[in-house]
Amino acid sequence: MSRIYERSLAIRHLVCGSCNGCEHEMNALAGPAYDITQHGWDLVASPRHADVVTVTGPMTEAMRDAAAATLAATPNPRVVVSVGDCAIGVGPWCGVGSAGDGAGPELGARVSVRGCPPSPDEIVRGLREAARLLDDV
């Protein structure tokens, strides 16, 4: 079994109505304490460059089209990772007001990272799981 993705993962982040708490923890991945570049991973600026799309938030009406377009621009094989309880569908804003029931299920997520927000270590574990799914393709 190859370990190409596990050692070289391009990650694109997509915010779909999160409270920005998950973004604080996603941002930590680029800092010296977690430094995901040590695994050969990178946060990339375009979905065209991505293997993994991390999504946060319950999904909002106004983000639905832009989220679908972002996913459509991401080449296959790709894995969507739900980061945080809202994205999974169990967070505080799921089904509240005009919010949806989780951006992850709506976008076909195959990996879930629990937490409100999840810690950077937990996000790293979810990303590793996504890389293994890609390596097993």
Binding site: V15, G17, A45, T60, A62, R64, A99
Partner: protein, 465 residues
């Protein structure tokens, strides 16, 4: 103390202008057929109510752009008409079409659209730059991509039960919002917290300011192309978040402040936190010194993203963004709440209005936050903090205003007899500052947008709600 006065619909313009001249205008929101203009005075929030049941009210947005978004929001959400409002576009997109951007017209004007999905790890928004050559002539912003209709959804719920939701309206200003909500419920319920609880709340609020301001300086360094500054800043933010977790069992301190006090178990070992913060403080000071002694960084900061004092005032800029442009308002001293009155807070004011001035304000506020935390922890000594008091839901309406890390955080609630929320409204510091931040881009080149933007570092979630 919160107070209300009624103003006559035919005298709205004069009355609001008069009040804004003598008090700090916070904005406006609407209740049932009523518009409520909010002002802050040293003695507390003043709410001027106007009957909006009979016809359109005059728009204040032309003379005071501060009211631009507030009026558009009331128009869309409560159906209140404002005569003469300069912008007929929708503020909230919902499932409708995205409003067309307002762009500059003329020969040679180029329009560049960015978003709503951005290249970095940031919340969604659409930015439309009208440029002449490389220089920005006008920046149009379209937000509400994160709109969940929170205020409507939380209405009808029990006031005490929704406290965890209030803490999660926005991850980066959770403590400020939990505190303002607690103050509102405690004032309606007629209870006061003991001294130790008040000092504990100051510790938590200043920890939130610390991690945000350090993060902002890191991002400003990044915007100036100084990678070492970003790395150092992110490393220091992480250390502060770990201290937040040690103090509250949550890295972003969600639910640490609850109505009636602070959650049981928060700040269980004040002196350990004090010692740990001492080590972080030394390294943060070294980081800030290095940043501000780097001449190429300072040259990028100087003159970029200029927000002049007049524009800052008219648009209602507040917090570090206001104080960097000569708007000398900090709620911690202007209308001191909690333990701040006894702490002699030293306010950071600058006049430059550029990225350098905003970063300088934050650098000085970081130093002051460390001092305030240390002083508060000294007062707490080794004593444990008492469990939160039971809050009985009072009835009525109130508005609280306090100083979050991005500026004035305003929260209004209307509670009925059985403790049900009839109306909830949040005016976040980011909502106040975004229109001014957009003006600060004029005359700057697009590649400087990350630098200018990050010198404000505003949230979207508490603005979109």
């Amino acid at each position: 103390m919160y107070a209300e006065i009624a103003i006559a619909p035919e005298r709205v313009r004069e009355s609001v202008a008069e009040l804004a001249a003598t008090a700090q205008a916070l904005g406006a929101y609407a209740g049932e057929k009523q518009v409520r203009y909010l002002f802050l005075r040293p003695q507390g929030v003043l709410c001027a109510t106007v009957d909006a049941g009979v016809g359109a009210l005059p728009s204040m947005a032309n003379e005071m752009p501060l009211y631009d978004w507030h009026e558009r929001e009331m128009r869309e959400k409560q159906g209140i008409a404002f005569d003469g409002h300069p912008d007929t576009r929708r503020l909230y997109i919902g499932d409708g079409p995205v409003p067309e951007a307002m762009t500059a017209q003329g020969e040679g004007v180029n329009v560049v659209v960015v978003g709503p999905v951005h290249a970095g790890i940031i919340e969604p928004g659409r930015f439309t730059f009208s440029t002449g050559g490389e220089t920005t002539i006008h920046l149009d912003t379209q937000f509400s991509y994160g709109h969940r209709d929170i205020e409507r959804a939380l209405s009808g719920r029990n006031a005490l039960e929704i406290a965890p939701s209030i803490a999660r309206i926005c991850g980066g200003c959770s403590i400020a919002r939990s505190w303002s909500y607690a103050l509102a419920l405690e004032s309606l319920g007629g209870i006061e917290c003991d001294e130790a609880t008040e000092y504990a709340r100051v510790v938590l609020a200043e920890l939130e300011r610390l991690y945000n301001h350090v993060f902002d300086l890191a991002n400003a360094a990044s915007g100036a192309g100084y990678g070492r500054g970003l790395t150092m800043g992110l490393g220091l933010k992480e250390r502060i978040l770990q201290l937040c977790a040690a103090a509250t069992q949550h890295r972003l301190m969600f639910d640490a402040i609850v109505p009636g006090g602070v959650r049981t178990g928060v700040l269980s070992d004040p002196q350990a936190l004090r010692a740990d913060l001492h080590a972080v403080r030394r390294d943060v000071e070294r980081f800030a010194k290095e940043l501000f002694e780097n001449r190429s960084v300072v040259r990028r900061f100087a003159g970029a993203g200029l927000l002049d004092g007049r524009t800052a005032r008219l648009f209602g800029a507040c917090g570090p963004a206001g104080r960097a442009s000569g708007v000398e308002l900090d709620v911690r001293t202007f209308c001191a709440y909690g333990a701040y009155a006894g702490l002699d807070v030293r306010i950071a004011n600058e006049k430059g209005g550029d990225v350098l001035a905003r970063c300088s304000v934050k650098r000085r506020e970081i130093a002051e936050s460390f001092r305030l935390i240390d002083a508060s922890l000294a007062v707490l000594g080794d004593s444990s903090i008492q469990d939160p008091q039971t809050v009985e839901c009072g009835t009525g309406r109130t508005t609280t205003a306090l100083e979050g890390s991005r500026g004035v955080e305003t929260l209004s609630i209307d509670v009925s007899g059985d403790g049900t929320i009839e109306r909830l409204h949040v005016i976040s510091a980011s909502y106040r500052n975004w229109p001014a931040a957009a003006r600060a881009m004029e005359g700057n080149i697009i590649p400087d947008f990350p630098l200018v933007n990050k010198s404000f570092n505003l949230c979207y979630s508490c603005m979109d709600r």
